[in-house]
Amino acid sequence: MGDEPLPQVSDGPPVGAEPTDAELAIRAPHDPAAFQLIYDRHFDAVFRFCYYRCGDWAEAEDLTHDVFLRAFRGLPHFRAGTHEESVRAWIFTIARRETANHWRYRSRHPSDPLTAADFVAASGPTPEEAALALDDHRLLWNLIAQLKPAQRSLLELRLAGLKDVEIARELQRSHDAIRAEQSRIIKRLRAMWRKMEGASA
């Protein structure tokens, strides 16, 4: 009573929990803070996905900008469905479309062709680690580039941070099919890795 501090309350769920993506998406067309929260939550995954697709950080920035701008314009017409992850899946649908358009454009304007070997890792904590990581990443990207397009799509979504359930929803395939496909991808990559190591030895 009075101005004395209140005694400790031991339990009870915290009020003020993080809003869900669906709640934010309702507010975002009117509220820049809500849209910025959506942006902050999904920027890393979308940005990396764009980078994996185009292989250049500067172009990935352009693509990411276009993805979020399209997402903002589409928010009033978006229905999240019953899944909490659907905002993320929806953003990735936009991202896949944007990057596909980008690839189409690049294939028709081949002034600066992209190859898997063009991928450059960002700087690591030390120059040695960065160099090692660079080699590691180049090797992996060389292998990934040899996968079938559908397998590569799946793997790029996985690398962007989506889990199997989200990928299944995004690619409109069953959960079991995605899991089986993942196993086939790993098996194929492993075989290629062995072959490459055998050749280098």
């Binding site: 009573m1 709640e23 507010r27």
Partner: protein
């Protein structure tokens, strides 16, 4: 590691490595685990410094985003009235509110009716409806032969009067002190439905109380999609709709009308000010994120709007320069300038409890801890809507979880007495009149308690659960229960005067938060999405019945 089980193990390992970085590889072979780990490192490639901010800066410079920046409350620019009435505005913002979906279980329902048993279910439903309708018609006929019935065609007996301040209930529970005292008078028997108007879109509901001002009734609604809301203005005498505006998310709370402006908030955090006569929007401001509050209503006093930003759905009470609020730990209450929407102060509750705040500065005067108010277990969202009722120098509040009514010194918070209820009471605000406190609980009891010492005077059992508050007009207490029955009780003796059902259909729907009683009429919101007006009716005599 082959076959479905191997797929599961690899998948589990991959999910875990994404979530936790370095999980136990279990039965996944070393080479595969190493390959997945390499890919995870590839996935975690560091993002160039500043990229996030650069992309955001470009986005924020886009015309679409700069346009919405101007709407915010914290800009110093004066409010710009909307040029067009916002009739049916924002109807495209139809994104689901997961909490609302959980509330009604609609997401499960849709899939159910897509199945092959849809036709059988539909046929069974038709049978049930036909049976219910037949029973209802039969019971209606029976009643009409024996006694005058409020469900017969009603004729308005009340003469239309010029609206005056006496005809107004401008905020939840009658006044900003939330005393539950209505201007009245209540209707004279026989009481029946004068009109009903559906205001919610689709199969929505009305939860908050209506308010009446200057011949117009204002009420909010949760639309049937569970995602959007509506605020409607009706002619209070006839129920004819004058205008409606759409809110971004459901509007389960009550509006407040002051000086020709209607103030209300929606459940996910926008506060609106609209013109009472036209529905034109004056301003809207986004509250904090998250700002969920079920059925929270503003109090508007001396040009300041007080509103729970987040936490419970409690509605602030104002009396003697003090704002009283019930909130959960971390819940927030704010004060906004009624003309501009600019925020004046914000208070965050450190613990669950009742807080008395300086209305000018928001500084805490006193507090009393209450049991933690968690989300309602069936819906997962906070449905506590208890408010503090202040009469004279005493503040009355129900600790809903502790099943206790407290009388506290309004100036110091010192407990004067307490009264134990029979059940929890999460949506039950006390009403005070004539030295008596009237309070309800979820067992369905109405208690009359001596305001001086907390001694029980009488109690009355309503037909069903009471998740609503009592109000008082003259010498009559009014409650509406979970089965949609409105009951009038003698305030001095606790005996029933009359009761009537809100919905004339065979299905019973829960009534809203509290009725309002003004100018010989009672207005009640209902979970069937309609507003019902009750008053004195004449009963059409059956053909052949001799005149009295």
């Amino acid at each position: 590691m082959t076959g479905p089980r191997g797929d599961d193990e690899l998948n589990y390992f991959w999910n875990e490595i994404q979530a936790h970085g370095n999980p136990d590889r279990g039965s996944v072979d070393r080479e595969t685990a190493e390959l997945v780990a390499r890919m995870h490192r590839l996935a975690a490639v560091p993002i160039p410094e500043g990229a996030r901010q650069r992309v955001w800066d470009r986005l924020a410079a886009q015309p679409e985003l700069t346009r919405i920046e101007g709407i915010g409350p914290r800009t110093a620019s004066p409010p710009v009235p909307w040029k067009q009435p916002i009739l049916m505005m924002n109807t495209s913002y139809a994104l689901p509110n997961p909490a609302a979906k959980r509330r009604f279980g609609w997401s499960r329902g849709r899939r159910f009716f897509e199945g092959p048993i849809a036709w059988i279910s539909f046929a069974l439903l038709l049978l049930v409806i036909a049976q219910g309708g037949w029973l209802f018609v039969e019971s209606g006929r029976h009643r009409s032969r024996t006694a005058p019935d409020q469900l017969l065609p009603a004729v308005l007996t009340r003469e239309s009067a010029t609206p005056s301040a006496r005809d107004s209930v401008t905020t939840l529970y009658g006044d900003s002190a939330r005393t539950g005292v209505m201007p009245g008078p209540g209707p004279v028997e026989p009481v029946g439905i004068l009109w009903s108007t559906k205001i919610a879109e689709g199969r929505g509901l009305v939860f908050g109380s209506a308010v009446v001002s200057n011949g117009l009734l204002f009420a909010g609604a949760v639309n049937g999609d569970g995602e959007s809301g509506t605020l409607v203005a009706l002619d209070s005498a006839t129920g004819v709709e004058r205008w409606r505006v759409a809110s971004v998310s459901p509007t389960s709370g009550s509006p407040t009308v002051v000086d020709g402006v209607v103030y209300f908030r929606d459940d996910l955090g926008f506060l609106y000010a609209v013109d009472a006569s036209s529905g034109n929007e004056r301003w809207r401001i986004p509250l904090e994120i998250p700002a969920s509050a079920w059925a929270s209503s503003p109090a508007v006093v001396d040009g300041v709007v007080y509103i729970n930003v987040s936490g419970t759905g409690s509605s602030p009470s104002l009396s003697g320069g003090t704002a009283y609020v019930v909130n959960s730990a971390g819940g927030k209450v704010s004060a906004f300038d009624a003309n501009t929407g600019l925020e004046k102060w914000r208070f965050t509750s450190p613990k669950a409890g009742v807080y008395a705040l300086d209305a000018k500065t928001g500084s805490q005067r006193w507090a009393m801890e209450m049991m933690e108010i968690g989300p309602f277990w069936t819906t997962g969202i906070d449905e506590v809507t208890n408010s503090v009722a202040v009469a004279g120098d005493v503040a009355y509040v129900v600790d809903g979880k502790a099943k206790t009514l407290y009388a506290l010194d309004a100036a110091t918070g010192q407990e004067q007495w307490k009264f134990e209820l029979g059940a929890q009471a999460l949506q039950n605000t006390p009403a005070i009149a004539n030295g008596t406190v009237y309070v309800t609980d979820e067992l369905g009891y109405v208690y009359a308690v001596d305001a001086a010492n907390g001694a029980e005077r009488w109690h009355f059992g309503a037909p069903s659960t009471l998740r609503s508050s009592a109000v008082i007009a003259g010498d009559t207490v009014y409650v509406c229960d979970e089965s949609g029955v409105v009951v009038a009780i003698d305030a001095s003796t606790g005996t029933e005067r009359w009761q009537t059902r809100t919905t004339p259909s065979a299905f019973r729907h829960r009534a809203g938060l509290a009725p309002i009683v003004v100018n010989g009429m009672i207005f009640v919101g209902n979970f069937d999405g309609s507003i019902y007006a009750f008053g004195q009716v004449f009963v059409t005599p059956e053909p052949g019945t001799p005149a009295a």
